[in-house]
Amino acid sequence: MAVNVTAPMSGKITEIFCKVGDQVSNEDELMILEALKMENPIFAPADGRITAIKVEPGAAVESNQLLLVIE
């Protein structure tokens, strides 16, 4: 089952700690979303393998924008 990970609010992706194909565990830190002057970590919502990353470091994202997919 594919799980979409989306941006909780608009901001800027400053760091990405994973790549396509990585096996991740629930609550692993996947990337940093800079918003409201804070560097907010985006956590994996489930165990799985990353099948797609839809953003790059430096990307401006909107609230609910798709960031990556975990299967």
């Binding site: 909780p8 609010m9 700690f17 565990s25 609550e27 692993d28 830190e29 800079e34 918003a35 409201l36 002057k37 804070m38 560097e39 907010n40 970590p41």
Partner: protein
Amino acid sequence: MRPYFEKMPGFGKPLRENRIARSKDSRASLETVEAGIAALRKEREKVGIPAETINARGGLTIWQRLEYLVDPGTWHPLHSLYNPEENEEGTTNVVDGLGRIAGRWAVIIGFDNKVLAGAWIAGQPDNILRVTDLAKRLHIPLVWLVNCSGVKLPDQEKFYAGRRGSGAPFFRHAELEQAGIPILAGIYGTNPAGGGYQGITPTILIAHKDANIAVGGAGIVSGMSPRGGFDVEGLEQLINVTRDLKERPPGRVETHYNETGFFTHVCDEERGVLDGIKDYMRAIPAYDPMFFRVAAPAEPALPAEDLYHLLPFNQKEPYVLEEILARVVDGSEHLEFRPDYGPEIYTGLVKIDGMLIGVIGNRQGLLPAGYPEYADYPGIGGKLYRQGLIKMNEFVTHCGRDRVPVIWLQDTSGIDVGDAAEKAELLGLGASLVYSIQQVDVPMMLVVLRKGSAAAHYIMGGPTANRQNAFTLGTAATEIYVMHGETAAVATYARRAVKDKDAGKPLEPIAAKMNEMARKYYETSRPAWCARHGLVDEIVDLKALRGYLQAFAGSAYQNPKSICPRHQMLLPRIIRG
């Protein structure tokens, strides 16, 4: 109430490898600051003449006296780096902290007899007032190791007079005694004038055989009558009188034990004085901790070492407050109060050494969508909004009703601002919190985990805005200021920039001033600066934090001014619903 407290819900999760790897640099930064603080503390302990010299004269240093007096492993120093007047000695010349003596908690303070024979110096009265306030708030004995040569005369104008001058501790002693708080004094060496009053105002005076206390010492007795100047003939007379008084200073044991009886006991040995204090400590009223325990004491289920990976050094990086808390409280268990309300604030009951403690702290990171409910912008942890302010008011009030001491964990950037925030009554709710804290009259302590800023630093149990704060701790990540330096620079120079721009002037000078202001804010908000200037009472290593919480809980429950039977507490029932 056993079903409420014996086994509370567990919280906190084991650290993940991913988190450990990501936070290695943060841990290194925290440990570097901690090492720097430890080095400053060591440097301060070495100030003055060497211990060997004191020992060769047959005396002990303040540090050796403390080591003998305090139960092993229970010394929790405070004000180690406090030196608000930037004295050249690098100290306020008193050493103090919380420790157990003969099994009972006490606030302990002594003059550093290695430095100017324990003289009064600038900044010291405020240090002493912090200590008398601490004993009063925790309602535990104050133990003095008096060894004070009186005023450092060349600097007297800095601290002798005034509302908070060096004489203020004398009436504070009277206040403590009137509140039923005993003051035990071990008296060593020569204590003239101010030293004499430090020696006479406590409740029980135990003197070393060579000690003296006097209204005035040899120095002033021989020169009491000003003659309009000095000449050789006058100096000859002075030399003769001084020689005699040095041999027989006023206020010796033969006077204040044999004649006046001020000294309760006199001991031939230095350690005998300390043994006497231990005997009196055994005689003071103190509950056995079992009296107030709601459960058996237990270590946290998760290790304190994790704190170095959980509290980010980078102020912009959020963290989960509950994960910090789970590393310092018994069994990593809690009862959370109103978890669905005021999401920027954690409130809950925990156990420290089996004793019930209320905890209030700032959550960090993104808040749930739609919060704050009164605004069209998103909320962020660290800030205070309407619900969080109401929740803190409620929780503090319940803790007061149930007589539960409170620990604040502060990491706040301030109260929400703007028209919506004003309409949401945040100004009034912040003031209400100050009122609520004053109203409850239970001991509180504060840990500024990272940021203490704006009015939020005051109202969240800060030492500035209430009498319940017993002491305030900082960490290696602490920074305290009215606002971030760059924010302050904007507030200061924005209008000037507009004027200069309109006048066609270059903007580089203003930019330079703004950078200089931001730099100054940075430097004057670091942990060592906060400790030196008393913004916190001590900077503690993260791994030592639980020890201070235990000292606070043990002290607060040792001889409380009032109690609430656990089966009559409301807060646990409100939490359960």
